[in-house]
């Protein structure tokens, strides 16, 4: 499995994503600078967490207009897989590669803590190694992670089984609509999620629940 991690000037989980990919796949991902308009030949593109361009206007707004995002869209259009974590998820919605928007947390505060999730959908290249309904714990670390979409869109996401991860009962950290933590694109090759699976692949760091996501990708892409 060949992968690339996109690096925006204020990405800050790019190294974490790289380390997790190295650890899980045994291969070093290509680190792609935001001004590069060409992507290397890869199976998976990761949009990491961080603040892309400072995120002063709206999280991910400026990143969605960057040179590299045109190539990421093209990659997804061809069926290539794209994983957006945290700021990466925000970039994906701002780029309209995923529906809806990520809004300021309901409590108006940044929140960093482990959060219980339910794997809702296992029919995807990102989640096939999990059990349906499996309870996992990933940390969240964001100020604007409250997923919003109109009722019609939410109904469609649920109807098409595109809600990949939901916050477990009572664990919704940001007021997201219908406890949505992560969603799939229509073609199920793009996943955006607020919690950080790449921070839970190492036992010393308090959990390995994120491994399933990488193992799913390895299986799907081999």
């Amino acid at each position: 499995m060949k992968s690339a991690v996109i690096v925006f000037p204020a990405s800050n989980c790019d190294r974490d994503a790289k380390v997790a990919l190295e650890q899980m796949t045994g291969k070093t991902p290509a680190m792609v600078w935001h001004q590069d308009s060409e992507l290397p030949d890869v199976d998976l593109v990761v949009l990491p967490g961080g603040f892309s361009y400072g995120d002063y206007l709206r999280c991910g707004a400026m990143a969605s207009q960057s040179a590299v995002m045109r190539s990421v869209k093209a990659h997804a259009d061809k069926g290539g897989m794209v994983l957006g974590v945290c700021n990466g998820f925000q970039v994906l919605t701002e780029s309209h590669m995923l529906p809806g928007a990520l809004m300021r947390n309901a409590a108006l505060k940044f929140v960093c803590k482990p959060v219980g999730l339910e794997v809702q959908e296992t029919q995807s290249g990102f989640t096939r190694k999990y059990e349906s309904g499996q309870r996992v714990t990933f940390p969240v670390a964001h100020g604007e992670g409250s997923y919003f979409a109109d009722e019609e869109t939410l109904d469609r996401l649920e109807g098409e089984n595109r809600v990949a991860f939901r916050y477990a009962k009572g664990e919704n950290p940001n007021g997201a609509a219908r406890d949505i933590a992560g969603i799939l694109s229509e073609k199920r090759n793009v996943l955006g999620l607020m919690p950080h699976p790449e921070r839970v692949v190492d036992d010393v760091l308090g959990g390995t629940d994120g491994r399933g996501l990488f193992q799913s990708l390895i299986e799907a892409l081999s």
Binding site: A10, N12, D16, F51
Partner: protein, 734 residues
């Protein structure tokens, strides 16, 4: 040329005798720009004029110290060619005026101090002190400071892994925001600020210069009065995005060999960075202010020299490397300009629009800066054991203490900090010390900040000792070998003899403890004049400390992990209640003597406990400090909801036994067979040790009689902070 009047001199915070000294050094009347430069360089903040004579007494050397005080940050050897670089610094006054930006720029400033030396920041800590919770401004300040620290650190992608938050009325008008940054570098890639050699280009990188925070350094050296809130427009605004770019660009440039010296522009901006680089390199610096990237129009030389715009650095390059450096800064979309050159004149020369605005010997700003041996008088000691009601039920008091402002969980605070970014945080906030793995290795750094200001008021010497000892103990309790200290000395007005005594005795106490514990001071910061309307703060010499753990898998944490473990107390309990949390929270008294720290015992007990952790024999350790033994046991029980049944040992009175704050104590839990061995070994080593009981169940039971559910304790412990912060918005008058 502007004629300098006595009013101008006064406005610049310079005394008559200081101005006379300037006249003598210059041999003429200074220009207005020169007066501004003197005022910031001779301010308490930059010159340490009240404390320099005393700070010299601190121990600063050890075989593992690579760089002691005097640079942007201290450096220690952590093996394998790696170095840890760290420092703590205050941003008290700006944070009181504008809590979000004050705290944010405090974080940004200390990060620059660390990455200017070639290190990538890997962890942030902070020590915060606020006024009493009921004060109308406290909530607003807590909220602003916490979100400012988070807003900056989170964007930088550096985990904020812990710290301290205390409340006390003495901080009502003068909060303390002390931020600490720890970075990692290779020992052969450390950058210093000595601008050696003449004819080298001086380059300016980072953000543009505006009229931000002009005279911030002198503001930080003057007492507050209510009118100072009108100074808001001069508070600096932080831009963490630019700082992130600056960090990456600097580290990229540092990977080349283009840099001779580099220094961040912190307090007193261009003035102090150029003067310090020239001073340390023994060279002169000539600046052409027309070349300085400017954000505002018509800025004067005075404004540019004193601006405290954030996210800027000054570097001296090897000649001919300008293009290489410029390419890196352009890639990161940062300003880059050659604004001067080093000379062999040892003078700071500032030109603007074809005019020489300043021309002064650099030593006049550094070595010749005034040093004061200010007079000090000891305050009468508070002695004797305060009275308390012996009949008060112990567990009810425990519950009240756990739900009190200073003892309740700080989760509300640290959940707003991204503490797991960089994927190396092995011990998150809430334990004795934070533990951050050295990326790609099994090694880790343990980090803590500590001071107990309520001990420092009655006994600044013992309080200084205790701050160091507690930091040392906290590092030990996770299994780390304590290596070095950065101090952040927050005190009142040094021109008052009693305050000066607090400072002198505090430094003496810190020095004594650092010497005894082999724990050198490698950097620090003084913040004086922390008073409002004549009210002094509690003396608060915050100690930031770093220790090394060779094998992170052996790390101990405070949480009870198994039922059936034996609870062991290391150290002697005499039941010292003076200045204790118990006395303050339950009896409403801030009375008595502070507990004494026996440094020999401290070392002996700590080395014993660390040996057990390093050998993989115990994984459950908590230092016994604020609140005493029963609070420590409750803190061990709450994380996983594992209870314990414990009883008294060696003392007849319950309240002093459970709540006394005797020093040099640790509480451990280990399975029976191991516990028996530990107790025997401790006795053989003449260490006071006691078996208090066993873990298990979901209650905390005392002497097989009274008990309380752990969930009950936890409810109060976890709810105080969120409840306090959720209270009705209190009107803020500003």
């Amino acid at each position: 040329m502007t004629k300098i009047t006595p009013a101008m001199v006064k406005e610049h915070g310079l005394s008559e005798s200081e101005y006379q000294k300037i006249l003598d050094l210059m041999g003429r009347e200074p220009s207005f720009v020169e007066l501004g430069i003197f005022s910031v360089m001779w301010s308490e903040h930059c010159s340490y004029k009240s404390t320099r004579a005393h700070l010299k007494k601190l121990p600063t050397k050890a075989p593992w110290v690579i760089q002691g005080p005097g640079e942007n940050a201290g450096v220690i050897d952590i093996g394998d060619g790696d170095a840890a670089i760290f420092k703590m610094e205050s941003h008290n006054h700006p944070s009181f005026i504008e809590p979000y930006q004050g705290a944010a720029t405090g974080v940004g400033g200390i990060m620059r101090d660390v990455f200017t030396m070639g290190a990538r920041p890997i962890a942030m800590m902070n020590a915060l002190r606020f006024g009493e919770p009921s004060h109308p401004k406290t909530r607003h300040l807590v909220s602003g400071v916490v979100s400012g620290i988070g807003g900056y650190g989170n964007c930088m992608g550096v985990p904020t892994v812990g710290g301290e938050v205390n409340f006390h009325p003495s901080y009502n008008g003068n909060i303390l925001v002390n931020a600490m940054c720890v970075g990692l570098a290779r020992q052969d890639k450390i950058f210093l600020s000595a601008a050696k050699g003449a004819g080298n280009p001086v380059v300016y990188v980072g953000s543009k210069t505006g009229r931000d925070g002009i005279h911030g350094a002198t503001m930080a050296s003057a007492e507050f009065d209510d009118a100072s809130e009108e100074k808001r427009p001069t508070v600096q605004v932080g831009d963490p995005f630019t700082e992130k770019l600056l960090l990456e660009a600097c580290l990229e440039l540092m990977a080349t060999d283009a840099i001779i010296a580099i220094q961040d522009m912190g307090a007193a901006g261009l003035t102090s960075s150029s003067a310090e680089m020239g001073d340390k390199g023994g060279s002169g610096i000539e600046l052409d202010l027309d070349k300085v990237p400017q954000r505002e129009t018509n800025m004067t030389a005075y404004e540019m020299m004193l601006s405290e715009s954030q996210e800027r650095m000054l570097a001296v390059l090897r000649p001919g490397r300008e293009a290489q450096a410029e390419a890196i800064f352009k890639k990161w979309e940062l300003d880059f300009a050659v604004i001067g050159i080093t000379t062999d004149t040892s003078r700071l020369v500032v030109k603007h629009k074809g005019k020489v605005e300043a021309d002064m010997p650099i030593t006049a700003l550094s070595d010749a800066a005034p040093i004061y041996e200010r007079p000090y008088t000891e305050r009468e000691a508070q002695t004797g054991e305060p009275a308390y009601d012996k009949s008060k039920p112990v567990l009810a008091s425990l519950k009240a203490i756990l739900a009190s402002p200073d003892m309740a969980s700080r989760r509300w605070v640290w959940e707003q900090y991204d503490h797991t970014v960089m994927a190396d945080t092995v011990q998150v906030p809430g334990g004795d010390a934070a533990v951050v793995r050295i990326h790609g290795t099994q090694k880790a750094l343990a980090i803590t900040t500590d001071v107990t200001p309520r001990y420092c008021r009655p006994d600044p010497f013992e309080g200084g000792k205790q701050a160091v000892a507690e930091a040392w103990r906290n590092l030990t309790a996770v299994g780390a070998l304590p290596l070095a200290v950065t101090d952040n000395l927050n005190y009142g007005n040094p021109q008052k003899p009693e305050i000066m005594w607090e400072i002198v005795a505090g430094i003496d106490g810190i020095g004594a403890a650092c010497r005894a514990l082999d724990f050198p001071v490698i950097g620090g910061n003084c913040s004086l004049y922390n008073e409002t309307n004549g009210e002094g703060i509690l003396p608060t010499p915050a100690i930031g400390a770093v220790g090394l753990m060779k094998d992170v898998t052996k790390m101990a944490t405070v949480a009870f992990k198994r039922a059936g473990d034996v609870v062991i107390l290391i150290g002697e309990t005499k039941g010292h209640l003076g200045q204790s949390i118990y006395l303050r929270e339950i009896e409403g008294q801030e009375e008595g003597a502070a507990p004494k720290v026996d440094l020999g015992t401290e070392k002996k007990h700590g080395d014993f406990v660390r040996g057990l952790i390093e050998a993989g024999r115990v994984d459950t350790v908590h230092d016994v400090s604020d609140g005493g033994l029963l609070v420590a046991i409750a803190e061990m029980a709450m994380p996983r909801g594992i209870g314990a049944s414990v009883g008294m040992a060696g003392l007849a009175e319950a309240i002093p036994f459970w709540f006394g704050e005797d020093q040099a104590r640790y509480c451990l839990a280990a399975p029976f067979a191991e516990a028996e061995k530990i107790v025997a070994e401790a006795r053989a080593a003449f260490i006071t040790v006691a078996e208090l009981g066993k873990t298990g169940g979901d209650k905390l039971t005392l002497d097989n009689k009274d008990s309380v559910a752990i969930t009950d304790l936890k409810a109060g412990f976890e709810s105080w902070f969120p409840n306090f912060m959720a209270g009705e918005e209190i009107p803020v008058t500003n």
